[in-house]
């Protein structure tokens, strides 16, 4: 950089407002509340002992992990199919495919949870239709359980899974696929031995993104779980708003944040994290 182009203090001043806002009104509240986990009810690691001793705490963690792993796997599978279709679509069809991904992404999560409730509840549209068709005698339990949570969460996560995979698939030279076909590979072989390996970095990036978003997800699991299947975020809210057990609630919040940061740290060795968060929009 030439001497004339050296940025002066003025440029640093531009960063200052955002920096101060984030430190004072974002970082400080979080650090302060996480510190409560070792100070309430009294100073020490008492709250963290519950991780080893309380079966309720362990159950919440295992439920959350199970739902997150299932959600991530399904969102990756469905997202991959969409990203694959977009990559190979004609330019005109591509616009429509992208619309089908982006529109749900921006529609309120509450609206989507509400739509799932109308569809899946006992007297919901799915159960009514199946009953009238005589396919089932009794309404199926489709919501207010783990099944409902997974349906709603996968619906929310698929667009997030598509975007990083799409950006990595677009870097694949389409001539490679045509060449492999020309050299006699079957369609399945082209996919397995050329396309899939080349798209793998995107799959991993998507997987990390969906998994960490799922871990702390609150609204959809709370509505579609109906208070019976608790995931970590809802459990934290319950501890703090209803039971006023700040120590336990903040302990779980700390565990949640640490789990997310560790996941990111582990995978940042394998994939470029900018690929995950730069791919939005």
């Amino acid at each position: 950089m030439s001497a004339a182009g050296r940025p002066g203090a003025g440029w640093w001043l531009l960063i200052l407002p955002a920096f101060l806002l984030l430190v004072v009104f974002y970082l400080a509240p979080i650090v302060q509340v996480l510190a409560i986990s070792v100070t309430e009810p009294e100073f020490g690691l008492e709250n963290y002992e519950r991780l080893l001793t309380s079966s309720a705490v362990q159950r919440v963690i295992f439920t959350t992990l199970r739902i997150c792993i299932i959600t991530t796997a399904l969102a990756l599978l469905l997202g991959y199919a969409i990203a694959y279709a977009i990559t190979l679509a004609s330019p005109r069809a591509r616009g429509w495919w992208i619309l089908a991904v982006l529109v749900p992404l921006w529609i309120s999560v509450l609206v989507r949870a509400f739509a799932w409730v109308t569809l899946l509840r006992r007297q919901g549209l799915v159960n009514n239709t199946l009953m009238e068709a005589g396919l089932i005698g009794e309404p199926l339990p489709l919501v207010w359980n783990e099944f409902g949570i997974v349906v709603g969460m996968v619906h929310y996560m698929v667009p997030f899974a598509v975007l990083p995979m799409l950006s990595s698939m677009r870097e694949i030279d389409p001539r490679l696929l045509a060449a492999a076909r020309g050299l006699g590979a079957s369609r399945g072989e082209v996919f397995r031995r050329v396309f899939l390996p080349l798209s793998l970095p995107g799959v991993i990036a998507s997987g990390v993104l969906v998994f960490i978003f799922s871990l702390g997800f609150y609204i959809t699991p709370a509505i579609l779980g109906g208070g019976k299947t608790l995931m970590v975020a809802e459990w934290i809210s319950l501890q703090i708003l209803d039971l006023i057990r700040w120590g336990l609630g903040t302990m779980m919040a700390t565990v949640l944040v640490v789990a997310i940061l560790v996941t990111l740290a582990v995978f940042s060795r394998i994939v470029d994290l900018r690929r995950i968060f730069g791919a939005g929009a």
């Binding site: 469905l78 001539r175 703090i240």
Partner: protein
């Protein structure tokens, strides 16, 4: 890549099924909102707009819509101002020196809002910001900054830094350079960021559940109560209005981008 290689029947089928899974459940709220029945159902004897009338004549719903709107506008102004300046500063200063700021900017996207929400609940109490317009604007505005930083940074990546150096070299001050050279070039990026920041605040529920209670009762909060307490077709009408509003914003964004691309 015209016609060279297309997905096979399995891939195509799964992609179609997924697209339907993404879109159809959202569309189902449209017929439900138009039902002529008193309860949540498909229309039986005809279409009716009465549930839209219920919503648009209800002071509670209108009050919440207005409150959400003013909060989102104020929060967007905060996010756009701070985010745009920050993106420009980071773009001009070397990457390594601003690494810390860049990581800080990612945190609101990574850390679940439930964690931030309980933090604010505790932090805003002594400051007297609980259940206040200003408190919610600050919370939404601060967490909206990353969206603006991302879109503006993308716009800046396509901007030739020599233009800025030329302007400075010819004697323009920092504020003149910003106003006359940089900002006009990145306006579409700023606008996109504003739309995302607006939707972020407009839809935000988790923080509001903790830091607002009576005086500030935003639209997502009212929908949340509605889903948990009484599922009636008026909720579907609200959902339809929200979907239309979101589509409108996205179309505005697309149109503006297309115009700026030529």
């Amino acid at each position: 890549m015209d016609g060279a290689y297309r997905p096979g029947p399995f891939g195509r089928g799964l992609a179609w099924a997924t697209a339907l899974y993404l879109v159809l459940p959202i569309l189902i709220v449209v017929p439900v909102a138009l039902t002529d029945q008193r309860y949540l159902s498909l229309p039986e004897d005809g279409l009716s707009l009465r549930h839209f009338e219920t919503v648009l004549a209800s002071p509670e719903w209108l009050g919440s819509i207005w409150q959400s709107f003013t909060i989102a506008v104020a929060a967007t102004m905060l996010s756009v101002t701070a985010g745009t300046l920050c993106a420009i500063g980071c773009w001009r200063i070397s990457r390594r020196a601003t690494e810390f700021v860049r990581v800080l900017m990612l945190l609101p996207l990574i850390i679940p809002s439930i964690v931030y929400a309980i933090g604010l609940y505790r932090y805003f109490g002594p400051l007297g910001l609980l259940d206040r317009f200003l408190g919610v604007v600050l919370a939404h505005g601060v967490t909206g900054i990353p969206y603006v930083v991302i879109t503006v940074s993308t716009a800046l990546a396509a901007f030739d830094p020599r233009l800025e150096q030329a302007a400075r070299g010819m004697g323009a001050s920092l504020s003149q350079t910003l106003r006359w050279v940089i900002l006009p070039r990145i306006a579409p990026g700023i606008f996109s960021g504003a739309i995302f920041a607006f939707i972020h605040s407009w839809d935000e529920l988790v923080m509001v559940l903790f830091i607002a209670s009576r005086d500030v009762f935003t639209l997502p909060r009212r929908i949340w109560d509605g889903i948990n307490e009484n599922l009636d077709p008026a909720m579907a009408a609200v959902a339809v209005l929200l979907i239309l509003f979101t589509l409108l914003l996205l179309m505005a964004d697309r149109a503006l981008r297309r115009r700026s691309e030529g």
